[in-house]
Symmetry: C2
Subunit: 186 residues, 2 copies
Amino acid sequence: MNYPNKIKKTTQKQINYSNRGMDLEQLINETNEYYVENDIALIYKKPTPIGISEAVYTEHGRVIKNGYFKAPSTLDYNGIYRKKYIEFEAKETQSTTSFPLANFHEHQLNYIRKVLKHGGICFVIIRMNGTVFLLPAESLVYFLDHFERKSIPYSYIEEKSYPIKEFYNPALDYLKVVDEIYFKGE
Amino acid sequence: MNYPNKIKKTTQKQINYSNRGMDLEQLINETNEYYVENDIALIYKKPTPIGISEAVYTEHGRVIKNGYFKAPSTLDYNGIYRKKYIEFEAKETQSTTSFPLANFHEHQLNYIRKVLKHGGICFVIIRMNGTVFLLPAESLVYFLDHFERKSIPYSYIEEKSYPIKEFYNPALDYLKVVDEIYFKGE
């Protein structure tokens, strides 16, 4: 493989730090690694789609010299669990009263409906007020269809979602909650 | 969204042209768009994983100034079809006698076994000798386990895979073949 391990990653830390939602993402990534290692599920974060406007060939292979981030039209994570297709998004908000729908791109909200239509397990993991919630996509779609609001009140999230406990290993065992919601009685 | 539409993509075409397997990829991408538009399946190519060693903020948002390509450890395409998880890789070779296994990264071959174990539909689309084949992952794994060879003879591919017809719209209706193999009698 031609990729340059030797490129100095001096600015990496600074970049990560500026990503809103990085901590929740880390918890989920670590949890997904645990799931893969223990043969529980195959769930991965999709790479961020990148547009390349300039690339050059170097001794390390092809290197991007000008690239930009594209808006994702699907959700961040997908994979397979207990033979089922699973797809979800993870978001955190500093707001204590409501979850702004601007956290989603318009395409993503339409996409969520499609995943449900095709029989996939779909949800949003929301960290808010110090709690991590699993909000089933069905409840999100219901909200979109019945309320003309730009944010979901915290009371709705509390009522319709399931808390995910933060723990040591795995860090955020969201599949335990998925078991309760989607595989009850199996 | 902060991404710079105005960046000139003068080198884009040249870059794409240098990608081996671009034509097969284009056929599959167009087919996947057809499937999404017609509500048949949700299958997408995963973005190539990128490592960022330098990024700057510009008037267009965050722009990558130094990025490199990472080796993928999963397969190129995944999604949902008829409520089932589906994942596959697409490869073409100029060789007429055998398909080199060097087309896969080591991680990918292990990963294929895992997808099967978790109950996913998994295969490789191979273009070779002017024909597009769908080789079920089960037959690929069987070959790996029973033959210590660095390439799959064309005769094995012909025997174990299913031809996919190239057509107009969709360009490469591989789900028709998936129906025959994985949903027979349903």
